[in-house]
């Protein structure tokens, strides 16, 4: 059976080729750059191209995967010391990685340029999003975002309701939803079981909090938090809000862009792709600030959650120096500008934020982008601590049980409080 030998030989050759193919030895430094958002690939690629134009001895390969697998893989990679050379870090996970010593400390990365580089060029939220529990920087701030209202102009017109404006309160949200539902039969505000794009901002608007200032304890059972939760979860009882089971099958965005509902909360990072993906809807919708709480227990009733990513590299990477030089560049005004101009995300670098507007240059129908930039004035940092990966999905489970009627809101909140406190205490004890 000559064939069998042949096959074996041919195969081993092919396998050798495919293995060696990725570690090519052309004397240049090959870096991998792992991201989780396909839509941002062009922006990231443009930054890399700009870097490699100045450093011809470096080649950077941008790899885009999906959110879920990103974290499974990244942790497994960190464990076997095979992290990508450069990668995005999310606040949800940063503390977990940083506290374990997995990320390179970049606090002094810019000391040669300006010892206060971070303070001078990035907002407090951006810096906080990239800091470990020890206060050191474990990533270079990449971008920032916030959550806002998306509304269907046609439906507001049809119901004779004025478009949402800066002074909108919770009451306006309710009454507009009601009027639209009565006039058109379409859903009003689609309140979806989510944290950052769901109940979090409402809790803060009411003056409550999810985690206390040093992130050691939760605030679910604080009176103000309860007030926010009661309002947010209570919206589901209106006829104009679909049940949570509806959203399991039809996401709020899908419902909105098929003109089934009039409003929902969206993150600004999704806007360019929504414009792109729903051409027939362009011009029919716009964005507005989140409504404020009319009678907050403390504060002025305004809040939205703001989050931001950063560029990190592994603490023990084999090409640490090269990788550090790249992320150093990524934090410069030039690179952040490229990121914004390519519409990838709102740059974190102060003064370059507005470059992100160019993401919408291609469309004749404009969105009221000003509100996003204005919302940063009172945005709250998205809440995370080093135990986040442990409690995040458990907390959501509890809320699901509230929504489905398996438990009442107060029981749910007490459970959520207990889960966050226990997991956090456990994490603190382990460290």
């Amino acid at each position: 059976m000559k064939k069998l030998h042949m096959i074996a030989i041919v195969f081993s050759i092919l396998l050798m080729l495919s293995v060696t193919g990725c570690g090519s030895s052309d004397g240049r430094i090959h870096l991998t750059f792992q991201i989780w958002d396909v839509y941002q690939r062009p922006g990231m690629q443009a930054m890399c191209d700009a870097y490699t134009a100045q450093h011809p001895d470096v080649i950077i390969e941008v790899q885009a995967t999906s959110w879920n697998e990103y974290w499974t893989k990244l942790e497994a990679a960190a464990e076997s010391n095979t992290l990508p050379d450069i990668f995005w870090m999310h606040t949800n996970q940063l503390l977990y990685y940083a506290d374990f010593g997995m990320l390179a400390d970049v606090t002094h990365l810019y000391d040669d340029i300006d010892p206060n580089y971070y303070e001078n060029h990035f907002s407090e939220i951006s810096r906080s999003n990239a800091s470990g529990s020890d206060g050191n920087m474990y990533g270079v701030p990449k971008d920032k975002d916030n959550g806002h209202l998306v509304y269907n102009k046609d439906m507001f017109d049809a119901a004779g309701v004025a478009y949402p404006n800066d002074d909108w309160t919770w009451d306006d949200l309710i009454s507009a939803s009601e009027k639209i539902y009565n006039a058109t039969g379409k859903y009003g505000f689609m309140a979806y079981n989510d944290d950052q794009l769901g109940y979090w901002p409402f809790v803060y608007q009411a003056g409550g909090y999810i985690l206390n200032d040093d992130r050691t304890s939760a605030g679910y059972t604080q009176p103000a938090s309860v007030k926010g939760m009661e309002f947010y979860v209570g919206m589901q009882n209106y006829d104009w809000c679909p049940a949570q089971t509806y959203f399991t099958e039809t996401s709020p965005a899908t419902a909105f862009f098929s003109e089934v509902g009039a409003m929902y909360m969206e993150g600004n990072w999704n806007l360019p792709q929504l414009m792109e993906n729903y051409p027939e809807m362009r011009g029919k919708w716009d964005i507005a600030k989140l409504p404020k709480c009319p009678d907050p227990l403390s504060g002025d009733g305004r809040a939205t959650m703001s989050n931001g990513l950063c560029y990190s590299t592994g603490a023990h990477g084999k090409k640490l120096e090269a990788a550090l030089d790249v992320i150093k560049y990524f934090g410069t005004e030039e690179a952040q500008r490229i990121q914004g101009e390519n519409g990838a995300a709102i740059p974190a670098y102060l003064g370059t934020e507005e470059t992100w507007r160019s993401a919408f240059d291609a469309y004749d129908d404009k969105l009221d982008l000003d509100i996003i930039f204005e919302q940063f004035d009172y945005a709250v940092q998205a809440v995370y601590n080093s135990a986040s990966p442990k409690w995040k999905s458990q907390v959501l489970d509890q809320l699901t049980k509230v929504y489905s009627g398996e438990q009442d809101l107060m029981t749910g909140l007490q459970n959520m409080q207990a889960i966050v406190d226990t997991e956090t205490a456990k994490k603190l004890a382990d460290n």
């Binding site: 069998l4 495919s18 990725c22 790899q63 995967t65 499974t72 098929s258 027939e280």
Partner: protein, 279 residues
């Protein structure tokens, strides 16, 4: 009289048989038809109450969007390469091991075969992280070789081919031995060709299961360009959440090559699978 009633009942039987088969076929076909119909609707059209059956016009937009979001060409190639390599490995190594387990005497054979049987009981999800770490340490993550990796050996293949070697009479091997063949020659020249139909069956089986592997490619390969069709399609859901028309268009594009192959080679496909039932 009696004959007539028998003929009647025979005809009735025929009618029932056909009715049942046609009814079953409709249930089997319907989801595909619905997929095709949905793939050319707009989102708002797909969400009408009551649902519209036919799209108002044949629309390629959804296909364009799916193609813009997924590198289908790369995914086709990756899938094909992964299947080819997994099949070659499964056939080569399983044939060798199957032959040895069936025909050769060596110490610890039952224990070693026990390992093969045990593997079939283990859920593959528990291997994902350890296997990923092996691939990462060996430095070939994000490659076709990484896609092939968990399929290097096949417990099922070994088990299945052992059955077919057991079915070959002992005399065949003895005759080869008398002709002066060594064990490898007996295996590769005499025995292996005799299991041709089982090998074909294993080929189909391996191909079908490699094709439907979802988690492994997602974890081991970091870029969409290195995904297989099944896994790439799963990521489309992350991008379009519940925009079903686009998802349906993507599904159709991902399914097409395998379905066409199947329609061409359906006899081999089905006979191959039929053999994996044993005997």
């Amino acid at each position: 009289m009696r004959k007539k009633s028998m003929e009647n009942s025979k005809r009735m039987g025929k009618i029932i048989t056909y009715a049942a088969l046609i009814f079953g076929s409709i249930i089997m076909i319907f989801p595909f038809v619905w997929m095709i119909l949905t793939s050319s609707k707009t989102v708002s059209e797909s969400m009408q109450i009551p649902p519209t059956i036919f799209p108002s016009r044949i629309m390629a937009d959804n296909f364009a969007e799916a193609i813009a979001s997924l590198p289908f060409l790369n995914m086709y190639i990756n899938t094909i390469l992964m299947i080819i390599f997994r099949v070659i490995f499964a056939v080569l190594f399983s044939s060798m091991a199957g032959y040895a387990f069936a025909k050769l005497r060596f110490k610890g054979k039952n224990f070693l075969f026990g390992i093969v049987l045990m593997q079939m009981m283990l859920p593959s999800q528990i291997f994902i992280i350890p296997q990923y770490q092996m691939v990462a340490k060996l430095g070939f993550a994000n490659s076709v070789a990484a896609l092939v990796f968990p399929g290097l050996v096949s417990a099922f293949g070994t088990f299945f081919l052992r059955q077919s070697y057991l079915a070959i009479p002992e005399e065949v091997g003895e005759a080869a031995y008398l002709d002066g063949c060594n064990q490898w020659q007996t295996f590769s020249k005499i025995m292996f060709p005799l299991t041709r139909s089982s090998v074909a069956a294993l080929t189909v089986f391996t191909a079908v299961f490699a094709y439907s592997d979802l988690m492994w490619p997602l974890v081991v390969n970091s870029d969409l360009k290195m995904m297989t069709l099944s896994s790439g399609l799963a990521t489309l859901r992350g991008q379009f959440s519940t925009n079903f028309p686009v998802l349906m268009a993507g599904s159709l594009l991902a399914m097409l090559p395998m379905v066409i192959l199947y329609l061409i080679f359906q006899r081999q496909f089905i006979e191959g699978i039929a053999m994996t039932g044993g005997k």
